[in-house]
Symmetry: C2
Subunit: 308 residues, 2 copies
Amino acid sequence: MNTAESKLVEYFAARGKLSPAKFPIGIGDDMAQVKLSGKSSALITTDILLDGVHFDSKKARPEQIGYKAMLCSLSDCAAMATVPIGAVVSVALPRDFGPGKLKKLHSGILKAAKQYDCDLIGGDMARWSGRLVVNVAMMSRPGRTKPVRRDTAKVDDIVCVTGALGGSIIRRHLGFQPRIKEALLIAKAGANAMIDISDGLSTDLNHICRMSKKGAVIEAEKIPISKDAKKSKNPLDSALNDGEDFELLFTIPKKKFESLKRRWCFKVKLTAVGKITRESLVKIKRPDGKTVKLIPGGYDHLRVNSKS
Amino acid sequence: MNTAESKLVEYFAARGKLSPAKFPIGIGDDMAQVKLSGKSSALITTDILLDGVHFDSKKARPEQIGYKAMLCSLSDCAAMATVPIGAVVSVALPRDFGPGKLKKLHSGILKAAKQYDCDLIGGDMARWSGRLVVNVAMMSRPGRTKPVRRDTAKVDDIVCVTGALGGSIIRRHLGFQPRIKEALLIAKAGANAMIDISDGLSTDLNHICRMSKKGAVIEAEKIPISKDAKKSKNPLDSALNDGEDFELLFTIPKKKFESLKRRWCFKVKLTAVGKITRESLVKIKRPDGKTVKLIPGGYDHLRVNSKS
């Protein structure tokens, strides 16, 4: 999400005031939360994937496209530390996208549905002269904790990420792993704020800080850089700005982070990269020791997206 | 939904077997129903609207497009006799669709949200070189009755419609009225099956009958034909097949229909057009007195849509 689009989302959020009793979490987070009867609540997200933006139908197979579409929404469920329930999928089909291709797209959706225990429960389809569009709307429910929001980072929280960042476009962006189980443990350990890194660490950390009215300092040398990013011209830049990592970025008090590390039972790495600060500025300590402003740059060739 | 697409939806429903305990209503109805903790449940629907198919961005203003997108999903809530809660909206934006137009689209969404007490709670947007796409995913909750399904019509039920049919493309398709309150009363009166007429009476009656494993006979002379359809070359054909009426089509035992008529307090007309039969054939008694098969023909120039 670039600055102009960020401002638009804020405009939308301001114009459509929501009742916090009905919607404890509204526009601006990874998912909205809806209170239902009794103590029950559900969360909902929507993600639109476009040919030529989020996938390239000339390179990606229909199964991969259906699979990725589900993964993106599953990653939103993870970002809130919630448990996926079911998805409805809309597709706009180009004229030459016949029943055979559609069945393959469907099988990619079902593969993700099975892997992450999130059923496909409905959909809509329409044919047109345009390119392929896949939209997934997904419902989830809170785990054992409240959903973890973006806007609740606290001063002195440790800033952490799962996995290694950058270079997703080379391979991972079609088959990454939404960190659902990891997120549930992170929430149980007491994380204050969380987001999935869809726009790049630099942008998504700025989201957390802006919405929490805090700042952050991260250290370049601590950022876990993926193998694919290491092959690029500027690995650090790639890790900061490529986007579509779909790893978790969260903030958590130091003691709780130590306890989380002890309980961590997943293959994926957990890395502390910095700290939340009182001063509303997001900064990075560069390898040369100089601390500079970290500009949101995760606005890449692949994704011009703006989750609201 | 044409026959090929209808078969695809059946293929999808068969491949993705759902647990009825978790999902009392799954693929194939207007909305899916999700059981949550306690006695609570929510319903969800998704509708994709495409430039050149469901609206023409050269003729319709952005407000009208946003408004219509919400109305379509609201009509799904009505079709199940449920109460809308909130919507998430995804948009794919053409390069020349600037912030001004987007704000107008948003104001159309908010207008419908206010009118039908269904808040906009989240969304996603992405820019691309294609045409405008608007996808609405909407959540609702059951009213005082269970949601009314498509597949539960009973032999000897009266077949009824609200409003007048046909010619929607001339004016109504951008500003119709989802029959939410009407649907709640119809459900309370004891309707057995219901659908909203999006693909035309002929097609949607065939949906109800096929899914309920029943047949029907309707009388051409009883079908309420809209003023706009009356101006067309073949008003009856228009009323049967145009689609996008977004009126309710429901089936109800005779006695309950009589009681419903007495309690009817809405401006919109209520008309009995025929009866559900045991024999799995959908027929129409023509004005010339001859009874013939009613072929699904609501597959029009405007909408090539396939709700699943």
